[in-house]
Subunit: 332 residues, 2 copies
DNA sequence: TATAGAATTGGGAGCGCTCCCAACCACCAA
DNA sequence: TTGGTGGTTGGGAGCGCTCCCAATTCTATA
């Protein structure tokens, strides 16, 4: 069996309490005691029993990552991988464990509810993707602190970490304008999603500010995935754009494929800019100009935000909006 | 604060012990008591405190999913998605929580070690992909029970769940032979992986058994990913095969693209068979004949195996090899 | 040197559960 | 009536930790 606090206490000649203080980095321990106890802990590779700690403190030192989507989605979306990595890292650094909830739609809602009240996490992080009304209600009813990555469409006083999608789209579009492109098309994200909507707004803002006409033929709605980038671009090409702003990197990649198939050159005949700065964009031919979204960092931040929320049960709301930046490569 | 066993005991007029028995489905409780207590538990939506339970039993009711993420293809591989789904489902059904470990390469190995000894899981599941020596040593040293999905290259007395890759490859190749194809090529998996190696062996076995020549030009090594299927197929086409056995569906899909680009018809000019039976194979044009691997079920089984291992600390080794089956569609 | 006050240390109580043994109750056979 | 039996039930002990208060030691000052 593993060691206990009491073992360490005995071996070091101090008491359980002092050992506990050392482990938790509390003040009020002499240097000598701290050194000796630390040494023994290291030697014995001692780790306090999490269950006992949880029972005594009422906190279980675990946060949940709630993903209201089929698993397929999670592991295919490179965006999500980076997010999960950031979250995972932050948990590790803060000595929290990360519990993964994969909840499939509909039927499993009840199981979320069950889990939320199970007392197995102190709080959780979730992504705003595809929130419907009952879902958000369930979360709110849980009484557990949580942080959303992204933003909810109409619940505004939630804790979230999100990108400034508007600014990002403006950066992208302004970049195209600055390069002298005139017929700038866009493949948007889904218009029932906050991010999709804002990225279109940013595009329109910049065209307008620069006195360019917003031509309906040059705006087409995609779904953020590669396939839709391809099909949308095919349609757009009929209207002879000289640049395309795709609201996601995956769509930009799809669009590049379509452009190549039409035997046009990037960026000579037509420029392409993406959004997200996924790692694979750098390996495209040509490398894709895009808007950098610090996804990993956002995951990390979400955890830190959650920890703050958990320390502040009296309702302070934490909202962070991250500024994106432009990454210029050879596709524009 | 949440209710406790004692609350339920008081409300029902029975004792803590009896309530505990009801909750854990133990025998030796009268029907009347069981009914009344069950009713009150439902009414109050009571869930026993996990930490207390863990402390009392010494089991924390959580298993870890360890993902040695050195290889980014783990994520992009739809194989992994299905696996995770099965694992997640099994955990839910057995009332275990699933803890996610995303471990980054090299440097973070030590952190795995730390976690393993942290007592936050009762056991864990991991995938065999890209195990290097220090990795497996770390796992073995942990003293925690674990189950591998797949097989380790040279450690044979580990608990695992794996597919009979040999039989699968034989099924696939035999199918091609039966259909009358003579120049059967193969795009193999990486030859330093057990699955890759076995699938090639199966291919050779069948050719040999049927008196066909094994032609080196018709064997080419891929890496299981779509891209490599495409490039390998391009090379193979020079040698005029009339059928291709790709050791993964993704490679088969890549190969089909290459074949179409060469303006050849599937299966008239050249047949293609894959391996895995990923959902997307059914939607190919033409739908892909492939070897069915019950991935979801394997994930599920891995959890059940782990539970068995945890009940048998005295070293019984559980190894399951699943038989694949042939799924005939229109590509052959 | 005495003593207040600060720094350090020790140990009881309790978190909510499970495990185990003892107690209780009916019921039946002797 | 007594004793034995099996089915139920109750409650003490203990899991390993934190929290809190009391005890002890040290330090600085009069």
């Amino acid at each position: 069996m593993a060691h206990t606090l009491e073992d360490i206490a005995e071996k070091s000649g101090y008491s359980r309490s002092t050992v506990s203080r050392v482990i938790n980095g509390e003040p009020g321990v002499s240097k000598k005691a701290r050194q000796q106890i630390t040494k023994i802990i290291k030697e014995l590779n001692f780790h306090p029993n999490q269950a006992a700690r949880a029972l005594a403190t009422g906190k279980i030192n675990t946060i949940g990552l709630l993903i209201p989507e089929t698993v397929n989605f999670i592991f295919t979306d490179p965006y999500f991988q980076l997010l999960a990595q950031g979250i995972s890292k932050a948990c590790e650094n803060n000595d929290y464990a990360l519990l993964l909830w994969l909840t499939e739609p509909e039927i499993e809602r009840s199981s979320i509810k069950k889990y939320l009240n199970h007392g197995i996490v102190d709080g959780f992080i979730t992504a705003s993707i595809n929130f419907d009304e009952p879902m958000i209600d369930t979360l709110l009813q849980s009484n557990l602190p949580f942080v959303i990555i992204g933003r909810h469409a109409y619940e505004f006083d939630l804790n979230y970490v999100d990108l400034d999608n508007l600014a990002g789209a403006e950066l992208a579009t302004q970049h195209l304008v600055d390069r002298g492109y005139k017929r700038i098309a866009t493949i948007t994200g889904p218009q029932d999603m906050f991010a999709g909507e804002e990225r279109l707004t940013g595009y329109c803002n910049v065209l307008h500010a620069n006195g360019l006409v917003i031509e309906e033929n040059l705006i087409i709605e995609g779904d953020f995935l590669q396939e839709s980038g391809y099909t949308c671009a095919k349609k757009l090409l009929a209207f002879k754009p000289d640049a395309i702003f795709a609201a996601s990197d995956m769509m930009a990649i799809g669009a590049m494929n379509a452009i190549r198939e039409a035997e046009l050159h990037i960026p000579e005949d037509i420029a392409v800019i993406g959004f997200d700065n996924l790692p694979l964009t750098a390996q495209q031919k040509p490398p894709l100009t895009t808007i950098h979204q610090p996804i990993h960092q956002m995951g990390y931040l979400a955890v830190e935000t959650l920890l703050k929320v958990m320390d502040n049960p009296d309702g302070e709301v934490f909202q962070t909006i991250i500024r994106p930046s432009l990454v210029t490569r050879q596709s524009t």
